[in-house]
Subunit: 135 residues, 2 copies
DNA sequence: CTTGAAGCTCTAGTGGCTAGAGATTGTAGG
DNA sequence: CCTACAATCTCTAGCCACTAGAGCTTCAAG
């Protein structure tokens, strides 16, 4: 199998410039080239890029993915480190969810108290200005 | 009242370079200057910067804040537009929470199914590679 | 052999800051 | 008044993960 960058993009759902970007930051290996210096990819790259795409969709950052890829290439190794990265990421997500839930609540409270009058008496503006939610 | 940028930073909890950045992007007006061209701020700027800080903490982006500031300067106006921006933002937050909850679940599922063996049989790696969660 | 889509490299822009260099200014103590 | 030094100044560059565009070359179908 030997496919162009456009075909790789179609098969993985990753945009062409993004593929080149991933190559640049070392997530994808330097690919084979045609005589005219166009990239040609094989099945390995399709799999690897799918791995990268799904990891990104799950919110892993590039540094984590680099590490996950390295680990996945050592099949006999214990998966403790993989799990650690994933658990760390879950904790990260939990923190983000917590923050978002809290600020959503604050926003919703000020919206609920808004009497739909003028800006002058707007609770939303007031809360933003005072930086807390005193009534 | 006439305070330096450092004092403004202390009073609002916004870092000095960030204050200059906000001036650059038009969230803060061009301040008065000393003869030696150092910035001097008054009470208005303290209030405005507190407004900005709290809006940022609530996750509003700079474009939204610019609009909120403009609206807050027209006190006689109806607060419908303010509410609309805030509600749009709440919806945004809801979408983000939804996404995060979903991907947390997927990650947790693969972690739960991981037998803590080798990388070869690691469910986490498998899920990342296949891009779905079939068992 | 022509044509036109797809590829190439390179630079710059996004948002919201943050860091650092190197020069200047403000201010307190002597 | 002078000195020392913290604070401020401007400017550039970096962060992350891409995205957009210019201007050129190559591939592949007809």
């Amino acid at each position: 199998m030997s496919i162009s960058i456009g075909e790789l993009a179609r098969r993985t759902g990753v945009k062409v410039p993004t593929i080149r970007y991933y190559e640049g930051v070392g997530l994808l290996p330097t690919p084979a080239r045609t005589e005219g210096r166009q990239r040609r990819f094989g099945a390995d790259e399709v799999a690897r890029l799918n791995f990268i795409r799904h990891s990104r969709e799950l919110g892993f950052e590039v540094a984590d993915i680099r590490e996950l890829l390295t680990l996945s290439e050592q099949p006999e190794r214990s998966c403790g480190e993989v799990d650690a990265i994933a658990r760390r990421h879950v904790e990260n997500i939990d923190r983000r969810i917590g923050r978002l839930v809290a600020l959503r609540a604050e926003l919703q409270r000020s919206l609920d108290r808004c009497a739909r009058g003028t800006v002058e008496e707007c609770r939303v503006i007031e809360v933003l200005g005072y930086g807390d939610d005193r009534v």
